[in-house]
């Protein structure tokens, strides 16, 4: 069930109403929300609700047993079981084919044909997100940073539909305390929520989908048919598309959660205003960045060791972050590129720069440089194979016309990047304006917004890019 559809609109009205009606009856509310969330997930493939339930049960059993013992050896074993179970699920669904086919090919090259079955495994939508949330829960219980949740709370947490399939990756310490208290039906930050939902719809349906159909998909499918300038704008287009697509989804998710009375962490913060790669990663997919930081980078040693150890930890974190997106060399290169860039910034002391202390020329120069390094990474991220990525890059040097760079494409690029430079104070002002208005008037403005979004977007609804991860 995709957010920008009639099906979701009907679903949400029913769930929103039912949720607030049932809120005084806590247990009934939890059962209701679990049912609604599983229905939401079942809309893709009902069979995978069993996977979601199984993942919840296994992680909750581990968490409960962790909470029941103070023996550190036992706790470490339980943690290992929990992490292994989660990685096992991810590995089975996301990496089995890649590793087994690689093994078959490697062994075949030395004259041995192993009887390894190449199974046809369908990737469940959102598996990376709910598995990472489950891992954070188990690890945080082990670290005694979060209390063991009651069973029903654990089911609500891991299935809560706004963030179930594409994040943001919400930690137990952020969400579970909100379940302990009754949400106040008189204190809903509606102005903020409506702004996020309408903005997210515009980003996804208009900016991302139009750019995809107008230039990006064609350039990446068949770069040889486009001039260097068209390919360049196709790459810029993808940079804006993936931002608008992913941040649009999480904006809607955060807005929907706010209307239900729950707060989610921010996931994007104007990433293309970054003046360094370090700055970029403070602004891009922030909930994944901090997950990687706290559960991978720090356990790998973080910045506590020497320069070599820190660089190794950094590279491992970024490459594994790349592989989190899928088992392909393109994602390894993407992660590796960012890892090398971050390491270079660290060695040269350029990562800690303060944008406010720079001259305008210096600041803009660094923004342009950072944006283009990020775009280089996006080429590998978007391309189906390494060969395709190099073909796209190779076309940049070619001449020719720029027929595909239409005024609409330029306008959407301008909106997608320019909106990130809008002063931060504008958002809260609009929120206050919206919150002060009559609900019917806000509804009318929302209806007009839906008219504009549906008219300007292309026909059909493309899935969100991050659903595949």
């Amino acid at each position: 069930m995709l957010f920008p559809t009639v099906e979701f609109a009907v679903f949400f009205v029913v769930v929103l109403t039912g949720s607030w009606l049932l809120m005084p009856r806590r247990t009934a509310w939890k059962w209701f929300m679990i049912g609604a969330s599983y229905l939401f997930y079942a809309a893709w493939d009902w069979r995978y609700t069993a996977l979601l339930a199984g993942s919840t049960i296994v992680n909750q059993v581990v968490a409960v047993r962790l909470g029941a013992t103070d023996d550190e050896r036992t706790r470490r074993r339980l943690l290992a079981v929990g992490v292994a179970a989660n990685l096992g699920v991810l590995g089975w669904f996301k990496y089995y084919g890649f590793f087994v086919s690689s093994a078959v090919n490697a062994l075949d090259n030395v004259g041995f044909t192993p009887p390894l079955p190449l199974l046809e495994i369908v990737l469940p939508v959102g598996i990376s997100f709910f598995t990472f949330q489950a891992m954070s829960y188990v690890i945080d219980v082990h670290r005694r940073r979060v209390d063991v949740a009651p069973w029903l709370d654990a089911f609500v947490y891991l299935a809560f539909f706004p963030q179930l399939v594409a994040g943001p990756i919400v930690r137990g310490s952020e969400f579970l305390p909100q379940l302990r208290e009754r949400r106040d039906p008189r204190a809903i930050p509606a102005g903020r929520a409506f702004g996020l939902i309408m903005g997210g719809l515009f980003k996804k349906v208009v900016v991302a989908n139009v750019l995809a159909t107008a230039i990006v998909d064609d350039v990446f499918a068949n770069p040889s048919q486009f001039s260097g300038l068209e390919v360049l704008f196709g790459i810029y287009g993808y940079a804006v598309q993936i931002y608008a697509d992913f941040s649009g989804y999480t904006d809607i998710a955060i807005g929907v959660a706010l209307l239900l009375g729950f707060s989610f962490p921010q996931n994007f913060d104007a990433p293309y205003t970054a003046v360094s790669l370090r700055d970029f990663w403070r602004r891009w997919h922030m909930t994944l960045s901090r997950w990687l930081r706290d559960y991978l980078y720090v356990p790998l040693g973080g910045s506590r060791g020497g320069a070599v150890a820190t660089t190794a930890a950094l590279m491992a974190t970024m490459v594994l972050g790349g592989l989190w997106h899928g088992a392909a060399w393109t994602f390894v290169i993407w992660g590796g590129l960012h890892g090398v860039g971050l390491a270079v910034e660290r060695w040269t002391g350029q990562g800690h720069v303060d944008a406010a202390a720079m001259s305008p020329t210096q600041r803009w120069g660094r923004r342009v440089l950072t944006f283009h390094v990020v775009c280089l990474g996006w080429v590998f991220f978007r391309a189906a194979t390494l060969g395709d990525a190099f073909e796209v890059l190779g076309r940049l040097a070619s001449g020719g016309a720029a027929a595909a760079v239409t005024p609409a494409v330029l306008l959407l690029l301008l909106i997608g990047i320019g909106a990130q430079y809008v002063p931060r104070s504008l958002g809260p002002r609009l929120e206050r304006l919206s919150a002060a208005a009559n609900p019917v008037m806000v509804g009318v403005v929302g209806g007009i917004g839906l008219l504009v979004v549906d008219t300007l977007g292309p026909q059909g609804i493309a899935p969100f890019i991050y659903f595949q991860f």
């Binding site: 949400f12 009318v444 839906l450």
Partner: protein, 363 residues
């Protein structure tokens, strides 16, 4: 954890709670006000976009879900049109130049837009082509195929073209003597639903604007859906369905042959779903038998190319280097890049053989 343990490369600190803006908090609403605003926005949005909702409902495969959608969308469109709320959308569509080339409906034709049906009196294949008889296209007399006078190739169809089109265009480019005029695909399109994308009309436009000599067409991914024939919904396994679908395929082939275009009609590869195995097998039989009736239409089989040694669907198959790789996307129908090249190679080889184009020098 001490802050000194935290890395400085990655994001620092817990991301801000988005519900806590820096300025004084705006007025907060109660749940009733929220529900009123949400319902108002959705109802108004539905009324504004009622014609688009109706068109979307009409494009759904025939069946109960479509019936329900139509039962809701038709009165909504009528009511919205009656009170003039479809006018803003119509005006915006007109300003964007969309009323001519997509399924958006104007106020006037919202209620008149009929569910696609087959004219019982029409001859086979007469439904989908434009009603106006097109002027014959002059087929230019060409010299030998060369870099300066390349063979003009158009590649189009449904989403199966997505990966395959790029692979075929890439291989065509390598020949140095084939010019790809366009690679065009539309998700969810095909020959079953001309009310969504009217491929016969579109291909006629392509012939006139691009003058391709060869077309590689790939349909079928969305075509195994019910059709409404003489007011009765027919399933793909029913004889009436096959007769109707065959007539549409034949009409497209005849139209292009008449325009002097040589057509390479791609067969669907074996799918994962057993139901789809039956249905796509039927489509392939239609494609192959209709192509066999026309000298300038060539069927390019792909079914067995994507089957394992047991003749069944196989996601993993050896590539050109003998490496076992994933050939199919997650849906069990579409091709990965490796799968696309697996199919594109015999396709371009067949075209090159038919036109006497030598293999490009290895470099």
């Amino acid at each position: 954890m001490a802050t000194t343990e935290l890395p400085d490369q990655l994001t620092n600190g817990t991301p801000a709670d988005v519900s806590a803006p820096a300025l004084a908090p705006p007025r907060q609403w109660n749940a009733g006000q929220v529900i009123v605003a949400v319902v108002t926005a959705l109802v108004l949005g539905a009324l504004f976009n009622a014609n688009d909702l109706l068109a979307t409902a009409q494009r759904q495969p025939f069946g109960r879900q479509r019936d329900v959608a139509l039962a809701l969308a038709e009165p909504l469109a009528s009511a919205s049109s009656a009170i003039g709320l479809t006018s803003p959308r119509t005006a915006m569509d007109r300003a964007l130049g969309r009323l001519d080339d997509d399924a958006s409906l104007s106020d006037d034709d919202a209620s008149a837009q009929a569910t696609p049906t087959t004219d019982p009196d029409a001859s086979p294949g007469s439904q989908t082509p434009p009603t106006d008889e097109p002027e014959p296209v002059a087929v230019p007399v060409r010299g030998p195929i060369s870099a300066t006078e390349p063979l003009r190739l158009y590649i189009g169809g449904d989403s199966m073209i997505g990966q395959f089109g790029g692979a075929l265009a890439d291989l065509a480019d390598d020949t140095g003597v084939i010019e790809v005029t366009e690679v065009k695909y539309e998700f969810g399109s095909g020959l079953s639903r001309p009310d969504y994308v009217d491929w016969p009309a579109r291909l006629e436009g392509v012939v006139r604007s691009q003058s391709p000599e060869v077309m590689v067409l790939f349909f079928g991914g969305n075509d195994a859906q019910p059709l409404q024939i003489d007011g009765v919904v027919r399933q793909p396994e029913e004889p009436e369905w096959l007769v109707e679908y065959r007539s549409r395929v034949a009409a497209v082939m005849d139209q292009l042959v008449q325009d002097g275009v040589v057509v390479y009609w791609m067969g669907m590869p074996i799918p994962r779903s057993e139901t789809m195995v039956i249905r796509l097998g039927l489509l392939n039989e239609v494609f192959e038998s209709e192509a066999a009736l026309r000298d300038d239409v060539h069927f390019v089989p792909s079914w067995e190319l994507f089957a394992g040694p047991d003749g069944k669907y196989s996601e993993y198959l050896p590539d050109r280097n003998g490496d076992v790789v994933d050939m199919r996307l997650n849906d069990g129908i579409h091709l990965t890049t490796a799968g696309a090249y697996r199919l594109a190679r015999p396709t371009i080889t067949q075209i090159m053989a038919d036109y006497g184009i030598p293999a490009p020098a290895q470099g």
